[in-house]
């Protein structure tokens, strides 16, 4: 918005030949760039430099010679399985979390702004979406393990011990359940602005023309929401892909996930001297996230046509 104002103001100043005004604009532009310097430095040091370092190390052997052996190893055997599992886990938790999150967010969006329920749900979503790591795993173990509190309640109420009927926290299905804990609130937070962008006037217009609820969603609401919905799924996908400590804590490496494998190669006490393989795996994850983020940006651009 501010940029547009400047753009309009500048030609005016030029046309009238008012030099002080022009100098002021240039000064303002310079100031604006100056303001961006800390962020630029932060991005350069925190994102660009490490990415370059990882990309270089991924192609180096232990002695520093150039090699493609790391990348080759990263897409074969147990590491390929790890990538497949990581993609599968991220996709499943993104879709499930996305659907439940969308429903909750829709419920909130229909509530009046400023109601207590709405504020509580949004605040809690902000907290839960950032909850993860070993504490999250411990929380679920305390609640739902064989001797967990909730397991006990369920047994008291229904007489059924869920653990005797195939329930477990300690495999892929358990990890998916636990990931829902942060994926759903994350979806609520990121999809809500899109839902609020659906103008009541559109619905009224559709109804005036005799559209049913189904027709409204099929031809108006759905198409407008679809790009941001997909974009949000990509964000959830990225969040699932990078989560690490929770899955590690729950499964003890019995399911291969790329993030866990990188941890084992870099920080482990067992495997020595294969750090560059970890960098190759990291590079692949960076590529996956890059593709996801480019798609996200494209979808956002499309979504911006209607939702502003």
């Amino acid at each position: 918005m501010a940029e547009a104002v400047t753009a309009v103001a500048a030609p005016d100043a030029q046309a009238s030949g008012a030099r002080p005004g022009r100098a002021l604009t240039i000064g303002r532009a310079a100031l604006r760039w100056l303001g961006a310097v800390p962020f630029g430095v932060y991005i350069a040091l925190g994102l660009v430099a490490p990415t370059i370092a990882i990309a270089i190390a991924a192609f180096q052997s232990n002695s520093g010679a150039m090699t493609t052996a790391n990348l080759d190893g990263a897409v074969h055997g147990v590491y390929l399985t790890g990538l497949e599992n990581s993609l599968e886990l991220s996709a499943i938790t993104a879709v499930l979390g996305g659907i439940f999150g969308l429903l909750i967010a829709y419920a909130i969006s229909t509530a009046r702004r400023g109601t207590v329920l709405r504020r509580v749900v949004l605040t809690l979503s902000g907290v839960f979406a950032n909850f993860g790591g070993v504490p999250l795993a411990l929380l679920f173990i305390a609640a739902l393990s064989t001797t967990g509190v909730v397991t006990g309640w369920i047994k008291d109420v229904t007489g059924v011990n869920i653990w005797d009927h195939g329930f477990t926290l300690f495999d892929l299905s358990g990890v998916i359940i636990v990931y829902m804990y942060f994926q759903i609130p994350l979806m609520v937070l990121v999809i809500l602005p899109a839902l609020e962008g659906l103008r009541p006037a559109w619905r009224e217009a559709a109804q005036n023309m005799g559209a049913s609820a189904w027709q409204y969603w099929r031809y108006v609401g759905g198409p407008v929401l679809f790009p941001p919905f997909l974009g949000c799924l990509l964000l959830l996908f990225g969040s699932g892909l990078s989560a690490y400590a929770t899955a590690e804590a729950l499964t003890g490496g019995t399911i291969s996930l790329t993030s866990i494998q990188i941890g084992a190669l870099l920080n482990g006490n067992v495997i020595a001297g294969q750090e560059n393989l970890a960098y190759a795996l990291g590079l692949i994850m960076i590529l996956i996230i890059t593709v996801a983020m480019i798609l996200y940006a494209l979808l956002q651009r499309r979504a911006a046509r209607w939702l502003q």
Binding site: T146, T147, G252, S256, G268, A272
Partner: protein, 379 residues
């Protein structure tokens, strides 16, 4: 006959030469002229004596250690006592870090005054560091008390403390006492047995799989039966594959049976679980020791060497033992009657027979097999 005489003569002349060097060194400018970074062992007298080492180390006044948790193997008290004794300040970088991070720090912080002086690493990392030339060879005064199998012939690294893979259990929840790996297949142990972490990440869990291999027809060169054993336990529902096995999972009943190092079960779980029992499985004795090494680029070379002398003194060895870690010179302490008897009695008795370890090659093979097959077979 003649040959022997020549040899003796040669040895005598070498000794004389060495003595000559020593004394000339001593005359030039006293202890401060000694380049402690190059000293590979102490001598009874002269510039490289213990007394001069203490002086030089106190002058440095600083020792950089890394990844030593204060509640691990009694390191908190050990560091406190060392500082009190020699007035040398100790900086402990990333106390909860891993062996891999120690090596990284030695390499990346080279030349900085905060770089690690000494490390305490798993053997695989000690060997890797030696192959990269990161360590300064050094033989402590009690070098001969360290079993030959537990030290590098060049003096680059040397075992410090360790223990045996053991089974710990909470008798309040485990009615039948486990005695061996085989006994863990008992259906009564459904959803009860845990490792401390993933064997692809943690040395202790890796050792547990190795020990299980020994109990199930495997060997140091064949760890696969260990993986298959845990796969079987998982299929039967006995094995709970959480990676956060420890005092809390024993307490809350997630893993009332925990396979871990005997010294960690004794130091971390036993104090918080009343009646907790620790047994070394009758069908597998698998020991592992951590290693000490001095960084070749240590910023405080004298303090680093004094630290090692201190750790391998009777005091240092007994302090480790008080932290339930078995010091490498334990048998000498027992034989000399200098062992702390209360601390010694707190650990389960060591299995009979000489200490054995897998070779580096066997260990590396086993690491690869676990990395490749653990998730595939057990998951």
């Amino acid at each position: 006959m003649t040959k022997t005489v020549v040899a003796v003569l040669a040895a005598a002349s070498t000794a004389a030469l060495a003595a000559g060097c020593g004394s000339s060194n001593n005359n030039s400018s006293g202890s401060s002229s000694v380049d402690w970074a190059k000293v590979t062992h102490l001598t009874a007298s002269g510039p490289d004596s213990m007394a001069n080492l203490v002086k030089a180390a106190e002058k440095e006044g600083q020792l950089n250690v890394i990844t030593l948790p204060s509640n691990w193997a009694n390191y908190g008290n050990i560091m406190k006592d060392f500082t009190a004794k020699y007035h040398i300040h100790i900086s402990d970088a990333i106390p909860e870090g891993s062996s891999g991070q120690e090596l990284q720090a030695v390499e990346t912080e080279k030349g900085q005054s905060r770089a690690p002086d000494v490390v305490d690493v798993g053997t695989a990392f000690a060997v890797e560091g030696a192959s990269k030339g990161l360590w300064a060879p050094y033989e402590v005064q009690t070098w001969s008390d360290i079993p030959a199998i537990a030290k590098d012939t060049n003096g680059d690294y040397y075992a410090d403390y360790g223990g045996y893979v053991a089974i710990g259990y909470n008798p309040a929840k485990v009615k039948v006492a486990p005695t061996s790996f085989k006994s863990l297949e008992n259906p009564a142990y459904k959803n009860m047995i845990g490792l401390n972490n993933s064997p692809t990440t943690a040395g202790a869990a890796f050792a547990a799989v190795y020990a299980a291999a020994l109990a199930n027809g495997g060997s140091y060169s064949n760890i696969l039966p260990g993986i298959e054993f845990f796969a079987k336990l998982k299929k039967e529902g006995n094995f709970v594959p959480t990676a956060i096995g420890g005092p809390s999972t024993v307490q809350n009943g997630t893993t009332p049976i925990l396979i871990w190092w005997d010294y960690l079960l004794a130091s971390e779980v036993k104090p918080v679980v009343p009646g907790f029992k620790i047994v070394i499985p009758s069908d597998a004795s698998f020991a592992s020791y951590y290693d000490q090494a001095i960084s070749a680029t240590a910023p405080d070379p004298a303090a680093a060497r004094l630290w090692e002398e201190y750790l391998y003194s009777t005091t240092g060895q007994n302090l480790w033992l008080q932290g339930y870690a078995r010091p490498i010179e334990l048998s000498t302490l027992v034989a000399n009657g200098t062992v702390d008897k209360t601390a010694y009695a707190a650990l389960p008795p060591a299995p009979a027979g000489a200490l054995t370890f897998p070779t580096q090659a066997q260990d590396a093979t086993a690491e690869n097999v676990v990395t490749q097959d653990w998730a595939k077979d057990v998951g």
